[in-house]
Amino acid sequence: MPTRTTSTGVKVWQLRDRNGQLIRWALWMATAIIFYVSWMKISDQTTWFFVYDAPRVAADIGGRAWPPRWEYITQLGRPIWDTLNIATLGTIFALIMAVPIAFLAARNTSPTFPLPRFVTRILKAMTGRTMTSYNVIRPFALLIIVSSRSINSLIWALLLVSIVGPGVFAGLIAISIRSIGFCAKLLYEAIEEIDENQVEAISATGASGWQVMVYGIVPQILAAFAGIAVFRWDINIRESTVLGLVGAGGIGLQLQSSLNTLAWPQVSLILFVILIAVIIGEWVSAKVRAAII
């Protein structure tokens, strides 16, 4: 037990010995220095006058934004409908594309190809492991999943607006591309966790590959699938509300034009509507998931 002797000669218990203590102090020091350097960098690029002025500006904006312009809500029906469509259709398209990718990415369902015998022998000599087949498609499926997941839907929207032009369609595709990775990742993890005995039982009846899929694998992942779909739909509702900022349709378009014209009463109404939409989306998804599980 690490102890320390005080000036009066009494041994006192300590949590860590000297080295542990020193390493921790060094880590804290490094964090502090990194933070300080980074903060100076941010500080250099900040006009502090504006920041000192911020409370006044915030109060000013708040004063202008209140009360919300309630009659503007008549013009928000269509944008909200568009937002809902982007989220829902986007999720459906994403799921249609995510299912095959998930089956190709899961270790137990991804097709493998037999290796020529000489390759097996070379690999055995090099790594000491016996590999008779190789999974060609799995890395590609994983690559699709990773690239779809690392790029934010707003960036996808930006890209698609410049390709297919502004509008709901661009937002729809952006949301689907962004959701593929998320859905496929969760789905392939669910596929890898299935009970192989059931699959074997079905194939023992002489079922074809597709029949094994439909009666052996699909029933086991159906609940997970429904859960993932609703979960992603909830996230997509949130994301599709801001896609309009880059021109990809939905209520974000109204938000952008209201911000550009400094129509703060409209902005506050739109933010309020978005908040309600997000809360409803979360409530629906929680209900459905509770019903499934």
């Binding site: 964090t31 990194i34 933070f35 980074s38 903060w39 960098k41 941010i42 500080s43 690029q45 900040t46 006009t47 504006f50 920041v51 911020a54 500006v57 915030a58 904006i61 409908w81 568009d82 469509n85 829902t88 259709l89 990773v146 690239s147 690392s150 790029i151 934010n152 707003l154 960036i155 930006l158 890209l159 410049s162 390709i163 297919v164 032009g165 509008g167 709901v168 369609f169 729809l172 009666y215 159906l222 429904a226 949130r238 994301e239 509300t241 801001v242 900022l245 880059v246 938000l255 911000l259 933010l271 978005i274 908040l275 997000v278 809360i279």
Partner: protein, 271 residues
């Protein structure tokens, strides 16, 4: 299965049970879903000539990915990346520092009810507001630049981290905390020696995970003027410089993958 039920079934074809067993609910959902899909597709306006025109640009984007251009905008890309990293690091540190007291306040087994309600309110506000919307408001209030992005990410970190940490504190082992308290420790000592060691692995794991998320988010905050690589990306898109776009996107993907890999290792080690 009783023999009567078995008798009933003999000679009949087996049919797959339905996913939704209640037929009323099943048909309502099916018909409602179909009607919704028809309405949604009917209201979807696609400008096909414009899409067709854009395909050429899409192709150029794919070609751009094959040979990304890191060079001609190297200075802008470097500045943007550095700014993104700085925003990520500072906002994670500040966000974690603030979310620890908030999490202590939001754990129902530690905090008195009024503090609990206040902290839960802070968490739900932070979680309900989309990062981009918060960034727009902060840019309007604090002016353009990384400060607005830093504040946005810190704010978003609080909701995420405090909620998950509070859940972990609520799940902690009571007897360990009680043992520390029975030595006559003060409240701070109790938190430090009774609670903190139990939640530390989770706190480290979550902080690293949030660092990863903050980096991804910092890549889009630039679109609304809150600093970071997003601003460079936006400019590149506006100029249709798809090779530069591809370079930036590749950098983001590589950084995210590296962060995910490192965070996976660290999380596996501490948990």
């Amino acid at each position: 299965m009783s023999s009567v039920a078995l008798e009933d079934r003999v000679g009949k074809r087996w049919r797959k049970p339905h996913f939704i067993t209640n037929p009323m609910l099943r048909w309502t959902l099916l018909i409602g879903g179909t009607l919704y899909l028809i309405a949604a597709f009917a209201s979807l306006e696609v400008n096909w000539p414009r899409v067709y025109e854009g395909l050429e640009r899409g192709w150029r984007f794919i070609v751009g990915f094959a040979n990304p251009d890191f060079v001609s905008r190297a200075i802008d890309i470097r500045e943007g990346m550095i700014e993104s990293v700085i925003m990520t690091v500072t906002s994670t540190i500040v966000g974690v520092a603030i979310s620890i007291p908030v999490a202590l306040g939001a754990a129902s087994n530690i905090a008195p009810l009024p503090i609990y309600l206040v902290c839960r309110f802070i968490i739900s506000i932070s979680r309900a507001l989309n990062e981009i919307i918060v960034a727009i408001l902060f840019v309007a209030i604090f002016g353009f630049g990384p400060l607005a992005g830093f504040l946005t990410l810190s704010f978003a970190t609080i909701g995420f981290l405090a909620k998950l940490l509070a859940e972990d504190i609520e799940d902690m082992n009571k007897s360990q905390a009680e043992a520390v308290r029975s030595t006559g420790s003060s409240w701070l000592q109790w938190v430090n020696f009774g609670v903190q060691p139990q939640v530390m692995p989770r706190l480290i794991g979550l902080s690293i995970y949030r660092l990863d998320i903050n980096f991804r988010e910092s890549a889009v905050l630039g679109l609304v003027g809150a600093g970071g690589i997003g601003a460079t990306l936006n400019t590149a898109f506006d100029r249709y410089e798809f090779d530069t776009v591809a370079a930036i996107l590749l950098l983001i993907i590589i950084t995210v993958m590296a962060l995910e890999y490192i965070s996976g290792i660290i999380r596996a080690r501490v948990q």
